[in-house]
Amino acid sequence: MARFLGFLTILAVGAVLVYGGMGLPAFGDPNAPAAVHVSDQYLEHGYHDTHTPNIVTVMIADYRSFDTLGETIVVFTAGLACFLLLRAERRREEEDAE
């Protein structure tokens, strides 16, 4: 019974996604809304502002570098959570055994 409900949920999610996907622009459309406003500005002015050919690096490290700082802190926080879960507990076990 639970598995039947699971399959029903998956089919429902698939139907909603296909229905929503019919409203997307065509694949490779150069006039899609996501490809027009801001990314045109980055592609036109990116090289002349920074003298760096790779526009993806310019975007994440110069125009949006504050977001990249937040992402780096997220990655470090995940590593810190792993440390606190496992290594600190192992050290406490070794101290209890002594």
Partner: protein
């Protein structure tokens, strides 16, 4: 799991490959300006070179390559380099992370180039330290020979949900 005593070929090839992986990782970091690459990819490759040593030589044998206690400090140093570039730009008179005002004395266009490079180096150190630290936390959870380990779970629970 291959122990160092088992295969001399694995040991020799791994020892030979680690510097090349690290040089390629630095190439990817520094050429993030001119081709796809940058800090995240180079940091993952640097972590990969250390994890190769951990897998082939065991955890104790590879401590001389990169000690376990340096994992988290490298992550912190990476974030400090990133935020330090931002504060340096503020000290030069601009906003936070505004590379135009870094106090190095070049034209503003080249200062932005240098700012991007410093930031990518910070990201590479942070990612490398975090990936190595996560691996070192997961491996070696229980000391072997203490009775129960991850591989002796008792009777096989053959019930598969599939």
């Amino acid at each position: 799991m291959i122990r160092p005593k088992d295969s001399i070929i694995v040991e020799v090839v791994a020892r030979f490959m680690v510097p090349f992986i690290q040089i390629f990782a630095f190439y990817v970091i520094f050429h993030g300006h001119y081709s796809p690459g940058g800090g995240f990819q180079g940091g993952a490759l640097l972590a990969g070179s250390v994890l190769l040593q951990r897998v082939v030589f065991g955890k104790r044998g590879s401590q001389s390559g990169f000690a376990t206690r340096f994992g988290i400090p490298f992550g912190v140093i990476g974030i400090l380099i990133y935020a330090g570039t931002g504060f340096l730009a503020q000290a030069g008179g601009g906003n936070f992370l505004q590379y135009d005002h870094l106090p190095f004395g070049l034209s503003p266009v080249y200062l932005r180039n240098v700012g991007i490079l410093l930031v990518e180096i910070g990201v590479a150190f942070a990612v490398m330290g975090t990936l190595i630290s996560i691996y070192d936390d997961l491996v070696g959870l229980k000391k072997r020979g203490e009775g129960e380990s991850m591989h002796s779970a008792g009777p096989e629970r053959g019930r598969d949900a599939g």
